[in-house]
């Protein structure tokens, strides 16, 4: 792949990644995530209801849905934060029931809520997360330098993370979540609460990561962002209402945009915002 600025610009204007003539541009057809009839119940409430899907290596997978549709719950099961009620799944080749510690070594996770240590400096946060993922010291220092430059945070290296503006915090959180070069990065509503320009910059970071071979699993409720994904799944009331590439979905529902597809699907939803 090109991985240069022109490529990014192409994606921004044309939606989604640059694609081959064949529908799926996937460098490796192997699935990095496979989910089979996954269900999570909290008492009588079924947050995630029998979902089945797969994520291919190297793609940007959009996990869409309204607030309360079950996106975060599903993601928590995949990242080893919670156990499913039933069903099974594999992440990076490991079972989510029995091998969650193996999974954790191979994934990055950026929470919906900003979750770096606000009372530590930018540098300290980077060093801490590189350290606990076992990145060797010299290698970690090199990556930190590189990241600081790419994020233009060299000046802010010794500022406390809590004092940074929201847009920078999110870019920093994302960079820290991939500091150990994971196979998959899970991003839970990464662009919530930032302006459109910052959102675009954030997506550039995602593309850069994907170019380095990381698979991105992104939840969002911004339908325009869905267009940047290779494939999307739309969750409605804990179920997967639709699952395909953005272009195929628009064609299937005769819609002009993903937002329209979502409106059609969401009409039947019972869980309000």
């Amino acid at each position: 792949m090109m991985g240069n600025g022109g490529d990014i610009l192409y994606r921004m204007t044309h939606g989604g990644r640059h694609r081959d003539l064949h529908e799926h541009l996937v460098r490796d057809p192997r699935n990095v995530i496979e989910v089979d009839h996954l269900t999570k119940k909290f008492g009588d409430f079924t947050a995630v209801d029998d979902i089945t899907f797969d994520v291919r290596k190297g793609e940007i997978f959009g996990f869409l849905g309204a607030n309360g549709a079950g996106k975060t719950t599903a993601m928590k099961m995949l990242t080893g934060l919670s156990f499913p009620t039933s069903g099974t799944g594999q992440v990076a080749g490991y079972n989510i029931w029995t091998q969650s510690e193996m999974i954790k070594k191979r994934i990055g996770y950026m929470s919906q809520k900003f979750a770096l240590y606000g009372d530590l400096t930018v540098y300290d946060n980077m060093q801490l997360f590189a350290g606990i993922y076992g990145v060797p010291r010299a290698e970690a220092d090199a990556r930190i330098c590189n990241l600081l430059e790419r994020l233009s945070l060299v000046q802010e290296k010794d500022s406390k993370v809590g004092d940074l503006p929201q847009g920078w915090k999110q870019k920093l959180a994302f960079s820290v979540s991939i500091i150990h070069k994971p196979e998959i990065v899970f991003l839970d509503e990464p662009t919530g609460g930032v302006d459109p320009a910052a959102r675009r910059q954030f997506w550039e970071l995602i593309y850069e990561a994907v170019d380095e071979g990381i698979t991105a699993f992104v939840t969002t409720h911004y339908m325009d962002e869905a267009e940047y994904c290779n494939r999307i799944s739309m969750m409605v009331d804990g179920r997967i209402g639709a699952f395909d590439s953005p272009a195929a979905l628009k064609k299937r529902y005769g819609a002009g945009s993903i937002a329209e597809v979502f409106d059609i699907l969401a009409r039947g939803a019972k869980r309000g915002e």
């Binding site: 070594k105 994934i107 979750a115 530590l120 350290g131 993922y133």
Partner: protein, 368 residues
């Protein structure tokens, strides 16, 4: 460096980067140790006394003099009738009345016995009781001296000379100071790590840890050990104050004291973890902690002796680790007891520390 190393450094950076916490760490033991023993003192001094001297003899003058020189009493007034003195007492101006009846000197010189009357205001029961006790012991000392110097050996009464072992002056401070050292450990070793973990829960950073390969053992240990070291520091500070300001621990071995303090710190750390495992907010954790800490402090003999508790609550103290720790501290500091003497207490304290930490690790879940 291992994950533990990175996490430990992280704790230190967070703690010392905070403008408030390091100050608390130093001020807490210093203020607690310097202020509380001076303020909360059960010793009775400066009891206001009124003497009703109906005898007006050289003997009554000598007795009055003797009493006011004892240091416990302040002679507020010398009245000529009991009624006037009682008036002073009911107005709160005096705490105790001593009445020397007319004809005392004559009776003493004849070798007869005389009844001296003491009335004490017992609204403040400690002051009344202790003051009355001091006064009667001075009077009986005085009378036996009189009898001895009068050359009448037959009338020298049997004298009781109590000898208070290990705390010869019955200073409440020496009872109080080890208790405060325990309070310091409870606050630093228990509250600090609990608040640190629950803050991570509130901020969501614990979730970031839970999706990482960090072993829960490392995460917990980084906190327990870091705050344990702070606990040892705070304890040392309070020990130094206890030693240099209050002259505590002239007998005890340092090793005995520190081993017990370490075991107790491990207990408090584990206990704090359990609290944080079950609370989602800082408020919740602080209230839960306070509830247990009050029981630990008030029901285990830290401030009031176990032997003067109700029978059922005496048994209850066996399930409070503070009982063993306070017993060790007092015995070592005041009596110079050794490991062998206190084996039972050390073993029980260790059992508590181990069991509570096993529960803490088991109840901490990365995945639910």
């Amino acid at each position: 460096m291992s994950s533990f190393g990175y996490l430990f450094i992280k704790e230190a950076k967070q703690f010392f980067g905070n403008p408030f916490m390091p100050v608390v760490l130093v001020l807490l033991p210093v203020l607690l140790m310097l202020l509380v023993p001076l303020a909360a003192n059960m010793e009775v001094r400066d009891v206001s006394l009124s003497i009703v001297d109906l005898d007006r003899s050289s003997l009554s003058a000598r007795l009055s003099d003797r009493i006011s020189r004892s240091g416990y009493f302040v002679l507020k007034s010398v009245e000529d009738t009991y009624g006037k003195a009682m008036d002073q007492l009911s107005r709160g101006n005096v705490d105790i009345i001593l009445e020397i009846p007319a004809g005392t000197e004559r009776a003493v010189s004849r070798g007869e016995s005389v009844e001296i009357f003491i009335a004490a205001n017992a609204v403040n029961s400690t002051k009344g009781m202790m003051g009355g006790g001091y006064l009667s012991s001075i009077v009986s000392d005085f009378s036996s001296e009189m009898a001895a110097s009068g050359g009448n050996p037959a009338s020298v009464p049997l004298r009781i000379t109590p000898q208070y072992r290990f705390n010869p002056h019955l200073e409440y401070k020496l009872f109080m100071v080890p208790a405060l050292m325990i309070v310091v450990i409870i606050l630093v070793g228990g509250f600090f790590p609990t608040m640190s973990i629950v803050t991570e829960k509130e901020n969501g950073t614990i979730e970031q840890m839970n999706v990482s390969p960090v072993r829960k053992r490392d995460f917990i240990l980084s906190k327990v050990i870091f705050y344990g070291i702070l606990g040892v520091f705070a304890f040392t500070l309070s020990y130094l104050i206890a030693h240099f300001v209050y002259g505590l621990a002239p007998h005890g071995g340092l090793l005995e004291i520190y081993v017990s303090a370490m075991i107790f710190l491990v207990f408090m750390g584990g206990f704090g973890l359990i609290i944080s495992n079950y609370s989602d907010t800082l408020l919740q954790s602080v209230f839960l902690m306070l509830f247990f800490v009050l029981i630990f402090m008030l029901m285990s003999g830290i401030f009031t002796p176990v032997s003067s508790m109700e029978t059922w609550s005496q048994y209850f103290t066996y399930i409070l680790p503070t009982r063993y720790f306070v017993n060790i501290l007092r015995s070592v500091c005041l009596k110079g007891s050794t490991f062998a003497d206190l084996a039972f207490d050390y073993i029980m304290l260790s059992v508590f520390a181990v069991v509570i930490n096993i529960i803490a690790v088991v109840t901490y879940r990365k995945q639910n």
